[in-house]
Amino acid sequence: MGRITFPGGVHPPSTKWTADKAIEALPLPPRLVVPMAQNLGAPPKPVVKKGDAVKRGQKIGEADGFISASVHAPTSGKVAGLESVVDAATGRACEAVAIEPDGLDAWADGTNEPRDWLGLSADEIREAVAEAGIVGMGGATFPTHVKLAPPRGKTIDTILINGAECEPYLTCDHRLMLERAAEIVVGMRICMAATGASRGVVAIEDNKPDAIASMEAAVRPADAARVRVVRTKYPQGAEKQLILALLGREVPTGGLPGDVGVIVQNVGTAAAIADALVRRRPLTERVLTVSGDAARRPGNYLARLGTPIGALLAQADVAEEFEQLILGGPMMGKAQFTTDLYVTKGTTGLLAFRRAAIYDHGPCIRCGACVRHCPSYLNPSRLSVLGEAFLDGDLDAIDAAMDCGLMDCILCGACAYVCPAHRRIVHLVETLRAERRKALARERERERAAAAKLKAEAEKVAQ
């Protein structure tokens, strides 16, 4: 059972120190700052202004377009103002709503009351998920209602609940599977109902036997679902790799899991879907792991969206003198330049390290380790060499990299992890991609200008 896996991948030390730490609700901080940019796609627009009274679950940010997700007040209180904060995912500035809690933590009207979801149609489920502002809580933050709307002509047969949690340190999904197994199963069934999928699969890495037992106990025969154990290996939790391991299906290049009849949801997302449908609770809080060697009391915390990072660092008794702060896991998490950050829907973890990991990078010695470990079967060595060539002024390197599968890289960093020269492979791949986007934009601009010029000349001739 536990041998199911994908080709490639690496085995970093798991360092899941907090696996046996029960989820602890963080006390409501004196001030919450809720960033609008919490989803992949367009950030929502604030719909409250300074001085407004808000209640928990009340919409404070309206989704801006289809690929966007509303944001709700994490508690009741008063809007202290609109601010600009750092978006931890991109490092750029983004709008945020500051809230001063009134301590009552009262839910808004029409929220926090039971609902019989079984009678709802697929469209109604998707609408309820969208209304609750749910996004992928494994860190990708893709709006869930979009994911639940399969592309036209595509049949979804399987809902895959992702409890792999392959990043070292992180244990929030692990704890959820132990403490909220029933809600996760309900969330899975709701996803099945919304997409017409006939079966559900819960995937868990074999290093979490207690979570496997917990989920197996929660899945009832009538659920048309089963728990499947996958080998502990990074990036086992990457969507495409998980689908390949469990179902033997390969998501085509440029495609989505829906193209092979699968939709993958993180266990936290499944629990949030259950909360939204069964209890009419919009997404206002999440579980995250606070760890790293600077945390003297590492743990799993249930924190409201907009909780200042400082409150979590204090709760985990993080030593004053830490050098590195990572939001997310150590493999794909983002190193932060400031602690002035706030919990969002995509914050899976908070890692504080006394000493920053700094690596001198050397030339590629062609050992081939990256090629053997790449889960996308690419040649990361070549891509990194092309990246350096581009930085040295070779503009053709982008086209060469496109032929080397530049767009098929999932940025998991397995290559850089094993590289004995400590090359910045992922960084270089991202650089090439950004430059390609710029080149494409320039190309489109040129075409537009050319078309406009042609049109103007044609009109002149016509006159």
Partner: protein, 361 residues
């Protein structure tokens, strides 16, 4: 950074956080770790070379390593790039280049070979990781052409254990005192005779050749490091265990040579089964094949990246070696086979690139 009036901004401004790109975790391997492990893997054969050939063996290795390291340091200074001789890669090249030379080569031969290896084969192409050909083999090829009698002497020293301290005074001369020389060609030259039908197979195989067991242990004439197949194998097994030598290359290489020699012995030379066995065994143990297949062809920089490519590369080395040995102009084929296959590596990599995830074949 956006201007933020809230309290934490003030305190965080004091703190300087280190920002880097993910992954923030790295495995423990590093270039120095790999290179020094290769050096360690060569130490048993290095120690044995002194036992077999006297202290001149150590002198050759010392001169070659010192030249390699000094050359690398000077060139890196001149190129105004960081001096990285501590990473051990120049030491590996120095040891390997000395291993390709016989003990009675004159003292400046290892110096020239190491200089050519580092200055021309490595740094002219951009330094570590950028060279097309294995530097040690280029160094050997250079002195092989420049000083042929030093590389293929008419006499080879034989084991005279215990005498290796006695010959310090003769380093500039020919063969050290106390070491007996046997006159005659190397085993490989004998096989050439079979191949070219100048010799009677039975006499050649039963005649002046060293015993197979002696060849396996290293009690034969030859270059410093290419004699003891056993100790080279020990070192290589360690590197294979660590994952830094890819087993596909030596396996494909040796299997191809064995198959080629066997096929030749049975069908072309008509040797009969028992003589054919010996013929194959001599081909595997002689002519520096162990050193070439285990340490030269497996050099990371100059071998393919993909697993399929490694098989093709090993097969190509083997096929060229057996062709050159049996039909070529001179008997020592390993060096040039590997250099030729090094040349083909970019092409092999391109041919054997696996299908990307999600792409159709």
């Amino acid at each position: 950074m956006p201007n933020n009036a809230t309290q934490p901004a003030e305190t965080s401004a004091e703190r300087s956080l280190v920002v880097g790109h993910w992954p923030h975790l790295r495995a423990r391997d590093s270039i120095p770790r790999i290179m020094w492990s290769v050096v360690a893997a060569l130490v048993p054969a290095l120690v044995a070379s002194g036992y077999f050939f006297g202290i001149r063996a150590y002198l050759h290795v010392g001169l070659a390593v010192a030249t390699a390291v000094a050359t690398e340091a000077i060139i890196q200074r001149l190129r105004k790039v960081p001096v990285t001789v501590g990473d051990g890669s120049a030491v590996v090249t120095g040891v390997l280049v000395a291993f390709c030379l016989p003990a009675q080569a004159r003292w400046f031969v290892p110096i020239i070979a190491a200089f050519v290896a580092i200055a021309i084969a490595k740094h002219c192409f951009g330094g570590l990781g950028c060279n097309i050909w294995n530097p040690a083999l280029v160094g050997r090829a250079f002195v092989h052409i420049a000083y042929p009698t030093d590389l293929n002497p008419s006499s080879w020293p034989v084991l005279k254990g215990g005498h290796f301290l006695a010959d310090l005074g003769t380093v500039t001369g020919g063969l050290p005192e106390g070491v007996h020389a046997v006159t005659g060609a190397s085993p490989m030259a004998h096989f050439k005779a079979i191949a070219t039908a100048h010799g009677d197979a039975a006499t050649v195989l039963s005649g002046k050749l060293p015993g197979l067991w002696d060849m396996f242990l290293g009690r034969i004439g030859g270059s410093l490091g290419e004699t003891s197949a056993l100790l080279l194998l020990l070192g290589a097994l360690y590197l294979i265990y660590k994952g830094w030598v890819r087993w596909q290359v030596p396996l494909a290489y040796l299997a191809t040579v064995a198959a080629g020699a066997g096929a030749f012995a049975l069908w072309k030379a008509d040797l009969g089964a028992d003589l054919a066995d010996r013929f194959v065994a001599y081909h595997l143990l002689g002519g520096g094949l162990a050193l070439g297949a285990l340490f030269m062809a497996t050099d990371m920089v100059t071998s393919p990246l993909t697993n399929k490519g490694l098989w093709i590369f090993g097969f190509g080395c083997g096929a060229l070696t057996i062709l050159i040995r049996l039909y070529g102009g001179y008997p020592e084929a390993v060096c040039y086979s590997i250099l030729l296959m090094n040349t083909a590596v970019p092409l092999i990599d391109r041919w054997t690139q696996p299908r990307f995830f999600g792409h159709k074949k």
